[in-house]
Amino acid sequence: MRFGIFFELSVPRPGGKVAEYQVYMNALEQCRLADELGFDHVWAVEHHFLEEYSHCSAPEVFLAAVAAQTSRIRVGHGAVVCVPEMNHPIRVAERAAALDLISGGRLEFGTARSSTWTELGGFGANPDDTKKTWDEFVRVIPKMWTQDSFSWQGKSFSMPERNVLPKPLQDPHPPLWVTVTSPGTELDAAERGMGCLGVAAVSYEEQERRTARYRHVIANCEPVGVAVNNRVHTMNFLYCHEDYRQAARTGMQMIGAFNTMNAHLYWTREAYATRAYQSLGNIGQSLKQASTPDDPSAAKGLPEGLGVGDPDHLVSVIKRWEAIGVDGINFVLNAAEAVTQDQVLDSLRLFAREVMPKFAGPHNARVPAPSSLPVGFA
């Protein structure tokens, strides 16, 4: 089991420059501590114009700072928006390779296509096309990383022969991921040999179904990269405290803030009728109250599967996720600063001390998480 932390960089109203600065500084401090404690990944989203919900529009800059201030934790784009109006694919390949170099081969490369009209409309992107451009991006970027001469005639862009530079440090290239919100996207990931990076809180039953389908399809995938990434990570929330009542109070306050902000986004499907967005993409609406007697969350009145509670509770919850085939969990630590920085750091420390040792993974070895560095770099 791998453990990661996941940043939206939400800034509570009234916001302003000082509040934004503080949120960024708090996040970097959390990353430094997570690195010391043995967490495996830091992920940062790419969102634009989403007031309060996410002020993380330049994740490559944030992740570069994380890379510079840490030594072992892997840095993840969670994820780059593969829409040409927002990111030209050549620039995506260049920036990601540079980030892989300066992080010493610690990049995880997540891809997405955006689900809000706020973002797509702001850039003048056509929602009908985003799935097609995402598919084009994920097929060409690994080639730009691995070929000395690359040319392309495609739908969203074309280019004559060039050598896209620099090349990433990892061999053959950084692991590829797809963010999965809507049912069915896990199959897009599987068909292309890409990791399934869940970014919606779903129930055990739904995740088990998605994971089984993903494992079945990826066994016969046609990988878009040179290497297949067959990992399944989910998104969760973390607030760990010795007293589960305190954990539930504080944790559910954070989750409530996150879900409310998320529900207030202006979804593409709501504004623009299209075949390309069959669900809203709302990631906070699927919390399910635990009800089965064997679920440890049921007795405590918590939604099932959440990383909120005392250490023993979290161990039992994560064991359940592990049993249904999830091999990584990425935790949102805060939302709109609903939890104080001291509480976040204490929660991380307690989790690392009492919960992480109960699970096998590189966090127990205190060595760099596995990557694919060329000979001489490992």
Binding site: T118, A263, H264, E270
Partner: protein, 250 residues
């Protein structure tokens, strides 16, 4: 925390000439052979909260939906109807708050006012659709207040459009409340069109600050059955839906 509306509820009630629902009806209202045209347009950022009450949250960007219905048949016969709604959130739910409505017959205006709280006036409403276009015209006192020409229909799947539930500010047996109207659409054909909004009298549609300056998309659903369910929930307009939601007893 979250951005909320800043309009005074009593001022809004006067501004929208809100109706009175004397008693709740447990009857659904079914309309058949309905054409529904929905245009979504962005509004200026400056208007995003000042035309919503404190109980609602504006979307970012602020947006207006214009819905025009041509009803082939119903319990009150055929009629046409057009209303404008501001996109918003009530608690965590996506909603549209009605700012004005015009119906082509007195019977339709009265039913929609008295049973569902639409601030309907009687006017001239036309929705003309053909193979290549759909035109909507609304006149009040013989003055055009809305003219839309929608061209070049492109077929979509019937389920590709999202209709959010409506909130109508009205005097009700529970007091001055936002009345939640849930419409169940069964669509056979859906098309997306390119819209031209050539006339929009903002004052006639509820507030002079409503300026649909950037059209996002327009859809036309043909041959629908639309059923307005009996009202189940109302919300206070001055406080959040988390605290202000009430069930309706028929």
């Amino acid at each position: 925390m979250l951005l909320t509306g800043s309009a005074d509820v009593l001022v809004l009630a006067d501004q929208f000439s809100v109706p009175t629902i004397a008693a709740w009806s447990g009857e659904p209202f079914e309309m058949v052979d309905v054409h529904v045209l929905q245009l979504i347009a962005e509004l200026p950022r400056t208007a995003r909260e000042c035309v919503l009450p404190p109980g609602l949250h504006p979307t970012e960007p602020a947006a207006l939906s214009i819905q025009a219905w041509r009803v082939g048949d119903s319990a009150i016969g055929s009629f046409t109807f057009c209303h404008t709604r501001l996109s918003c959130r009530s608690g965590v739910r996506a909603r549209g708050m009605t700012t004005a409505a015009v119906a082509s017959t007195t019977a339709a205006a009265m039913l929609l006012r008295e049973r569902f709280g639409f601030p309907s006036h009687v006017g001239h409403v036309r929705l003309d659709s053909s193979y290549d276009r759909c035109d909507v015209t609304v006149l009040l006192d013989d003055t055009p207040v809305l003219v839309m020409n929608n061209l070049d229909p492109q077929p979509l799947d019937a389920n590709d459009v999202q209709y959010t539930s409506t909130l109508n500010l009205a005097h009700t047996p529970n007091g001055l409340r936002l009345v939640q109207v849930d419409a169940d659409h069964h669509t056979q054909r859906l098309e997306r069109l390119t819209a031209r909004l050539t006339t929009f009298d903002a004052r006639a549609w509820g507030d002079s600050r409503i300026d649909p300056y950037f059209i996002v998309t327009t859809t036309l659903a043909r041959a629908e059955t639309v059923t307005l369910a009996p009202v189940r929930f109302v919300c206070r307009a001055d406080i959040s839906a988390f605290e202000g939601t009430e069930s309706v007893r028929h």
